[in-house]
Subunit: 418 residues, 2 copies
């Protein structure tokens, strides 16, 4: 989840998921300060974790930045890997436009097995100049058609939740996880829908409302606790944080770099390094830069993600290694009194070291008997820390910008009311 | 020169220098967009070159950034090397507080020859924890005293112009230049003096007046043409540019870096890499950061310079190589009609390739028969280009921020009035 911010749709999802699987505990893995659209979160991860706990999540885990800022595939792989590594998660419920788990599983199986015919189709579609998501869609359609299945079904995969859903199942197959997946029919506005749609506006629409300071409509779109904490953060000068606040930084940073720099960064291919290099010099604002880089085969989300990878210096080898070996730790952002119990169980069953107090992460690594790639552990946690430090430089209030929040803010503990 | 901005003191210097050596032509080597105090120039290099031409300089050369942003030693070495490489410069006149060329030459000779006793004294003074400039001063005093000279004379070296003067002569000795040096008694305010002192205010004081928009006092401190062009730049949105505009960028940038990053950068030693790393996280504003890093043995200028080296990624090897081999090209920023003639002569006599049109710099390098370190040539010119691109991101007007000014702005040509 991104909970950026936690809105009525998230609450609906949470309530429905509970009814569906009647869990003993609920655990969420959440993006930190940077999200999958290549943007900063509107308020920081500690506040967003606090909201999630108040809304009924028992334990909030942080999805390491290297996964949180990747495309749907990398994001889903990181999220499922963290959940699986807890050793206590049995069921995952995700929102889905199609609400057809059988269909999603069928597609995931193709992506996992990569039958020869599918690979051939994909290759051909990519050659036609389609973006990867589109090429994949057309290749799947051809594969469905070849199998005599209804190829129209594949068009469902234009919806972001279904795309993610497929990737969750695909990831579980890759890591051999026993997690069961369930879908809930997604209600309300689509994420792409940027307009206010009453109670069930999309997160994008809500961020626009925040940007425009339309507080009444923001209030209508969020559960009370979420609105309250959002306003607290804003009043204390720790938000809202928007990509446009970082625009000048990003463009200035790119101006200092050469093409060779971008070549080392994850995700740069197909001449994107040249486009970044040239566009950073030809344009004077970040919005103009994005439009300059844009082409049919590159989505804006991808360009924004690459921009973040660049300033964070997320290089190709690091991402390849992360995507091969998965997350190397489980970071706890917060838990409730009830969540404490499942945390105790997790400490026994987890497949990765658990980092609760960041100041002790080196000790956690020293003590663990679990198979961990130490270098990768440090690289992943270092990226989380650096980006948290970077993020807080964009808090509106200068006096809030002191860094090291990963160390100064302890995991949020929410005492359950009795 | 930095001409940041060109003020009445500069005009006085130029007039007096002319009277002193009665030159056929006057050539100035000027810092580009970043200066020796580790700060951006208040208006950009093309405008400052234009002013210099209007004030009577015939040819303005650019001091490559790798030298312009170093301490007095590196700055002077770069400047004298460029002037010497023209093959046409015979005399250099610099401002001096002591106005005692014999004394400055004596000190330069010691720095050049590095007698054993002097080296021993220097080592001892550094060990006491003094900053390098102070340790050197005390070592020189002890050496003077040992020689039976008046050690009090050395105290003159607290003045910035005399320090630079010694470095000019020292540099000429190092490269075996035949350039003759002359001094002019410096008049008016000291550079350190930040207050308005009427017609002869210091450049620092004038920048403060610009910051405070006290235009009448700015006008009083500058020659008419200098004021006019300064105001033109400001009205068109290309200035003023101040370090504080870059503060958030610098601090955000440091937050993304680890200690190992700083270790590779020129000038980091004595634990400064650790101080940068920690202070960038402990403070939320650049001013607080500078004060956090500051210690007795580090001057603010040095810290500011290191900050620029960091964002420009000026590493140790590059500076060592530059300081060993000198500048690898002569960059022409502007010339007058009269200056054209000396430029023709320069093309015959120069010891380095001359870059007039930046778009052709690769061709210039291909064609030259002069002994040039090609890799160093590219590294030095690349730093100039990258920093110019970076600088223009801090123009107040967004529409002025398009990059590549090094390629889009041709050298300034000033037709002499008839």
């Amino acid at each position: 989840m991104e909970y950026n911010p936690f809105h009525n749709g998230h609450l609906y999802h949470l309530t429905s998921a509970r009814e569906l699987v009647r869990p003993d505990y609920t655990i969420a893995v959440m993006s930190g300060n940077f999200c999958q659209r290549g943007e900063p979160a509107v308020i920081d991860k500690f506040a967003r974790a606090e909201i999630a706990l108040r809304m009924g999540i028992d334990v909030v885990l942080e999805l390491p930045v290297v996964f949180a800022t990747q495309d749907a595939g990398g994001f889903a792989f990181g999220a499922v890997s963290v959940l699986d590594a807890t050793g206590v998660v049995t069921d995952v419920v995700f929102g889905s436009e199609s609400n057809d788990i059988g269909f999603l599983q069928r597609v995931a199986q193709i992506l996992y097995e990569q039958p020869d015919e599918y690979q051939k189709f994909l290759h051909e579609e990519l050659k036609k100049g389609y973006s990867f998501p589109n090429a994949r869609k057309y290749a799947l359609m051809r594969y469905f058609s070849m199998k005599g299945w209804n190829e129209e079904e594949v068009l469902r995969l234009e919806k972001s939740n279904d795309i993610l859903g497929v990737e969750y199942i695909h990831s579980a197959l890759k890591i051999g996880s026993n997690i069961r997946f369930h879908t809930i029919k997604r209600v309300g506005a689509e994420e792409k829908d940027t307009s206010f749609r009453g109670r069930f506006s999309s997160a994008t629409a809500i961020r626009n409302l925040i940007r425009e300071e339309r507080w009444e409509e923001v209030r209508d779109s969020l559960p009370e606790d979420s609105f309250e904490i959002l306003m607290r953060e804003i009043n204390e000068g720790r938000g809202p944080v928007f990509l446009e606040n970082m625009g000048d930084f990003l463009l200035s940073f790119f101006r200092l770099k050469n093409m060779e720099f971008f070549e080392r960064i994850h995700g740069f291919s197909e001449g994107l390094e040249k486009r970044f290099h040239i566009c950073a010099r030809q344009t004077g604002s970040y919005q103009d830069f994005l439009e300059c880089v844009k082409a049919k085969r590159f989505t804006f989300s991808r360009i924004r993600r690459l921009a973040l990878f660049s300033v964070f210096e997320v290089n190709k080898e690091f991402v390849e290694k992360s995507n091969a070996k998965g997350p190397q730790y489980i970071r706890i952002l917060g838990f409730t009194e009830k969540g404490r119990k499942i945390l105790s169980l997790m400490r026994k069953k987890a497949k990765l070291p658990i980092v609760t107090n960041m100041s002790l992460y080196r000790k956690v690594l020293e003590k663990t008997d679990l198979p961990v790639d130490k270098q990768l552990f440090f690289e992943q946690i270092d990226l989380d820390v650096r980006t948290t430090n970077f993020y807080s430089m964009f808090f509106p209030a200068v006096e809030q910008r002191c860094g090291e929040r990963d160390f100064s803010i302890h995991p949020i503990f929410l005492r359950t009311e009795t």
